[in-house]
């Protein structure tokens, strides 16, 4: 009997589809039939998936980001709990704590995490830095000084994809780097208004504001991969992004540690890494056969070999920290190393806050970023408003 | 038995009641013309008879059957419209046979009736054309043909000739009249605002104004004894001359006086006894005024002369105002010339100034 699995995801680009293919091949090898349903854009794909679940015609498995996106699906009994498999596979032991927390609701696993993305990497062009005789910065004040020097040389200091998401991503990098993990958690997690009113926060916001001067005027509206391309082509020096950006460098034939480097900007120490990732969830079903297919999928997803292969292609690191990453690139190894110390792990915004709250903050950030006349105080005001109102 | 009988019918468009308890009987084989100015309700009445409009109360009988709630097709009527209303995408033949085909009449029967109607109307050679390949007159013939094949006992015409030019109008008018004669017992109800059409076609004319019947009568009656000012003015071209004045008691009975114009009313048939001193309007048709060197009224000056071929209309005026006179074309008269007018008292009409009713 055919074991047919329809998988709905939004990994449509070349690198992403190569990664997905790892799973697909593995699944096929295991005797199943992988029906690939890729829809570009997380929003579109999720909306389609949720609509289908609500409509009673769900795919076998669908992609989500780690975090609160699927909370309500759980409360509404639309998702299957996979705690049995989790216990069998000891997921709680082999995965980073924050990822486990993000996948568990009411004490049960409801999602299968497949990778870990670091979100606040600084990618830099080694050649540009070498030519300018500069070192990659370790703290944000340093970064601003470095940036000014680069700018004077006619190089774009920071390449930024000028869409609200990436502006917000940059803000989070600054917040966790300059404000620290605690402030980051208080801000996105507990919505601590006291923390927002603190001088540290204001300083961070002002620092973030100063970065505007280091971004080229063509940024607004730019896609993030076009921004990455600026670094690849030596037009820009630095680029904050998640490690998925590595795919771009790889596609351009560049190697981590050679043409480009990655680092975490923070307090000067090894740095805090904001981690999130992708998960798959499994719509609840009463059909035995369907459940069996899902079981098989789970096996495939967390199989160490496919984990390694998948994450190499995807640019992320395996969600199983027990996998040997020596065959991966320098950035991945660095990432793996940083994560060994749980105190360096910072939960991504998606894990801490609801999409609604992050959205509200994103609105505030993009307004602040695009309006040089807006003061840090005004921004704080807005953020407090969002904390109060956003559900 | 009357062919069509409209009994106490009220038609209403929402709040607006067009007719309020109108009754009308039409005899079998009669040619009835509904005559009136635009908006007087002619089409409404016709549509109600045809069943294209629902009546709000009252009944409509056709051929001795109460058809108030029948479908148009079941009333035994046929209708011809001003705008021809030919089905544009069908050939003439298809246009004419549409109704029969709807009624599932056998093919040979359809064929026969269409050919017969086409022959009657001399449109056999047009049968395979489409309406847009026809002239106006031909189109209206086809429309009449379409009505003919229905074999109806009552024909309804809604201003069928209004879209045609004068020449064609005259031709088709005669043809319709001939058709009526030929069909024998067929009743025709014909709507028009053209009084010439009404006069020439009708057995009886129903004059309507503002949704009210003003007068029903033969063309001759209507022309000679209009029952009120409206009918008098509406029928006849050139229009009747109206002169405001009063009735005075004279030596030989009553006399009409308007300024220095005076007219003894000997021989005038009053519909009821009149007192002197009422305000009245005197109506005289232009052809009943005769030009003379010495006449009833004198001191007129010619204003405008309108030669119309056979006759000439002379507009002449004195101090009291101007009058139209219809003269035989032969006499040459020129503007500025002086003349006197003779009046035949038996031909005039008198109306009450306030009600407009004939006295």
């Amino acid at each position: 009997q055919q074991q047919k699995a329809e998988v709905l995801h939004w990994w449509t680009s070349a690198g992403e589809s190569a990664a997905v293919k790892v799973f697909a091949d593995q699944f096929t090898k295991a005797g199943g039939t992988w029906v690939d349903n890729a829809i570009a854009g997380g929003v579109n794909a999720r909306a389609a998936g949720i609509n289908r679940m609500v409509g009673g015609n769900p795919p076998t498995m669908l992609q989500f980001n780690t975090g609160k996106q699927f909370d309500e699906l759980v409360t509404n009994d639309l998702l299957r709990d996979v705690d049995k498999q989790a216990q069998a596979g000891k997921w709680r032991d082999i995965m980073p704590k924050s990822i486990v927390e993000a996948s568990v609701r009411n004490g049960k696993f409801y999602a299968v995490p497949v990778n870990i993305h670091g979100q606040n990497w600084l990618f830099y062009n080694t050649k540009v830095f070498a030519d300018a005789g500069l070192e990659p910065p370790k703290t944000f004040p340093e970064l601003i000084a470095t940036g000014e020097k680069l700018k004077a040389k006619g190089i774009i200091p920071i390449a930024l994809g000028g869409q609200p998401t990436w502006e917000h991503n940059l803000f989070r990098a600054v917040l966790v780097g300059n404000g620290g993990a605690d402030l980051f958690r208080k801000f996105y997690g507990s919505r601590d208004q006291q923390a927002v009113k603190s001088p540290k926060f204001k300083e961070t916001v002002e620092l973030f504001g100063k970065l505007r001067g280091l971004v080229d005027p063509g940024s607004p509206g730019r896609n993030w991969n076009d921004a990455t391309a600026l670094v690849i082509t030596n037009k820009a020096a630095m680029h904050f992004n998640g490690d998925w950006a590595k795919g771009e460098f790889i596609a351009a034939g560049q190697t981590a540690g050679k043409e480009y480097g990655c680092t975490l900007v923070g307090d000067g120490s090894s740095g805090k890494l904001v981690i999130g990732g992708d998960v798959f969830v499994f719509p609840a079903s009463k059909d035995k056969a369907a459940l069996a297919v899902q079981d098989k999928l789970i096996e495939v997803l967390l199989d160490p070999a496919s984990q390694l292969e998948f994450n190499k292609k995807k640019g992320s690191i395996p969600v199983r920290l027990d996998v040997d990453v020596s065959s991966m690139d320098a950035c991945a190894e660095r990432s793996h190393a940083v994560l060994r110390d749980p105190s360096n792990q910072v939960e991504a915004m998606e894990l801490l806050s609801t999409p609604n709250f992050s959205g509200a903050i994103q609105d505030a950030v993009t307004q602040y970023w695009n309006n040089p006349n807006m003061s840090a105080d005004a921004f704080v005001e807005k953020v407090i408003g969002a904390m109060r109102d956003a559900s | 038995m009357s062919a069509v009988s409209v009994r106490d019918v009220t038609v209403a468009f929402e709040a607006f009641r067009v007719f309020d308890g109108l009754s009308l009987d039409i005899n079998e084989g009669e040619f009835i013309v509904l005559l009136g100015p635009s908006g007087c309700g002619k089409s409404t009445l016709l549509n109600a008879v045809a069943g294209l409009l629902d009546v709000s109360s009252g009944q409509i009988w056709i051929g001795g059957k109460n058809v108030t709630w029948e479908e148009p097709k079941d009333r035994g009527i046929a209708m011809v419209f001003q705008s021809y209303a030919l089905y544009p995408r069908m050939s003439v033949r298809e246009n004419m046979s549409f109704g029969l085909r709807m009624a599932k009449t056998p093919k040979p029967e359809i064929e026969k009736r269409v050919n017969q109607a086409a022959e009657t109307l001399q449109i056999t050679h047009l049968l395979d054309r489409r309406p847009d390949q026809l002239s106006g007159g031909q189109r209206q013939r086809v429309a009449i043909g379409r009505a003919l094949v229905r074999d109806a006992s009552v024909f309804l015409f809604d201003e069928p000739l209004s879209n045609l030019d004068a020449k064609l109008r005259n031709e088709l008018r005669v043809e319709i009249k001939r058709l009526h004669a030929r069909l024998g017992k067929t009743t025709m109800v014909y709507v028009t605002h053209d009084q010439i059409e009404a006069m020439t076609l009708a057995d009886r004319i129903v004059v309507l104004k503002e949704q009210k019947v003003q007068q029903i009568g033969s063309p001759d009656e209507i022309y000679r004894c209009p029952s009120n000012l409206f009918v008098a003015g509406f029928v006849g071209s050139p229009q009747m001359n109206f002169i405001k004045g009063r009735l005075k008691g004279g030596d030989n009975g009553l006399e009409f006086v308007s300024g220095k114009r005076r007219l003894p009313l000997v021989g005038y048939q009053f519909s009821q006894k009149q007192r002197a001193d009422g305000e009245v309007v005197l109506g005289i048709r232009p052809e009943h005024l005769t030009v003379a060197d010495v006449g009833t009224w004198s001191d007129f000056k010619i204003d405008v002369v309108e030669p119309m071929g056979a006759d000439t209309i002379v507009w002449c005026s004195d101090a009291e105002g101007s009058l139209q006179v219809r003269t035989n074309g032969c006499k040459g008269s020129a503007p500025g010339q002086h003349l006197a007018l003779g009046i035949d008292t038996t031909q005039v009409s008198l109306f009450a100034a306030n009600t407009g009713e004939r006295l």
């Binding site: 949720i50 609604n356 959205g359 993009t366 695009n370 | 468009f13 409009l53 709630w69």
Partner: protein, 311 residues
């Protein structure tokens, strides 16, 4: 006996009336039934449901609790919504008037008995065949300072030429207007051209005899005659304004900042991205109220009150 025979018709009439009405109107009613169902279920039903949800705290999935006007007070404290509302006003006014003006000019110029009229007409009309997504992509490309017009002119030897509206907070909304006009002017042209062709030729002759300059005839005589066509065009364009979404997403994604956010995008984002159905539906309800209060009187006067021709 007597009374009965007199009353007979009025007794039988109502029954006959009902039968008659049913017989003649049943097919028409049946034919309209599917549409009526759709109107009832989809248009009215969904809208009521939407309004109802705006009084709940629904997040990812709809739920039917009751939080009163809470979402509305949030909505009106929300910068982005207010900006969206302001943007749609700006866009609506400029887009509609822009299309009308450009469309009118195009129609007038095409009407000058020009050679290649049908070619021009087709050229002006083709953008309407493109989806807003395509329009947006094309214009984003063309207006992008680094790729399009600005680069082009600079490469031609004007290194200081700047046209950066697309990335300029204050001007970005106007680039959307430009793209919108590009898309809609052709349709307006077609409608107005149809109107121009319907103008009585005698009017033109009268004006020439009176010695009235052509442009003046267009303004003072022809324009007033085009009113029904202008209304039609405005209505068609207005339906596009309220739904404005794809174009913004394709061109600016609402940015820079929130400079080009529009209500439909607000609704869409909150429904599907932000898991905040309640706020999204509240915004939708506000849009609905705005649309209905502007249009209802017109629709009522123009379409509901006026009866069919059969009386």
């Amino acid at each position: 006996m007597d009374t009965i025979s007199i009353r007979a018709p009025s007794i039988s009439a109502p029954r006959a009336t009902v039968r008659h009405r049913i017989r003649t109107r049943l097919p028409a009613s049946l034919a309209l039934l599917p549409t009526a169902l759709v109107v009832l279920v989809v248009y009215i039903g969904c809208l009521l449901w939407t309004v109802r949800l705006s009084f709940t705290s629904s997040a990812l999935l709809p739920k039917l609790d009751w939080v009163g006007l809470a979402q509305y007070s949030r909505l009106f404290a929300n910068d982005r919504f207010l900006t969206s509302a302001e943007n749609i006003l700006i866009f609506g006014c400029l887009f509609i008037s822009g299309c009308l003006i450009l469309g009118f000019l195009l129609a007038v110029f095409i009407d000058q008995n020009v050679r290649g009229e049908s070619l021009f007409r087709t050229v002006f009309l083709y953008p309407y065949a493109m989806s807003f997504v395509v329009t947006g992509v094309a214009w984003q490309w063309f207006l992008n300072p680094g790729l399009g017009l600005q680069k082009l002119v600079r490469d031609m030897g004007f290194p200081n030429f700047t046209f950066d509206w697309l990335v300029n907070q204050d001007m970005a909304i106007y680039t959307i207007v430009i793209a919108g006009i590009w898309h809609g002017a052709g349709l307006t042209m077609a409608i107005l051209l149809a109107g121009l062709r319907g103008v009585d030729g005698d009017l033109w002759k009268a004006a020439r005899v009176d010695g009235i300059p052509t442009w003046r005839v267009y303004i003072s005589v022809v324009l007033p005659l085009l009113r029904p066509m202008i209304v039609t065009a405005t209505v068609l364009l207005a339906t596009g304004v309220v739904k404005l979404y794809d174009l913004v997403v394709a061109m600016t994604l609402g940015g820079p900042g929130i400079a080009t956010e529009v209500p439909a995008k607000f609704v869409m984002d909150h429904l599907f991205e932000r898991n905040n159905i309640a706020l999204g539906t509240a915004a939708a309800t506000i849009m609905l109220i705005a649309v209905v209060s502007v249009l209802a009187p017109w629709v009522y006067a123009r379409y509901i009150r006026s009866q069919g021709r059969l009386g």
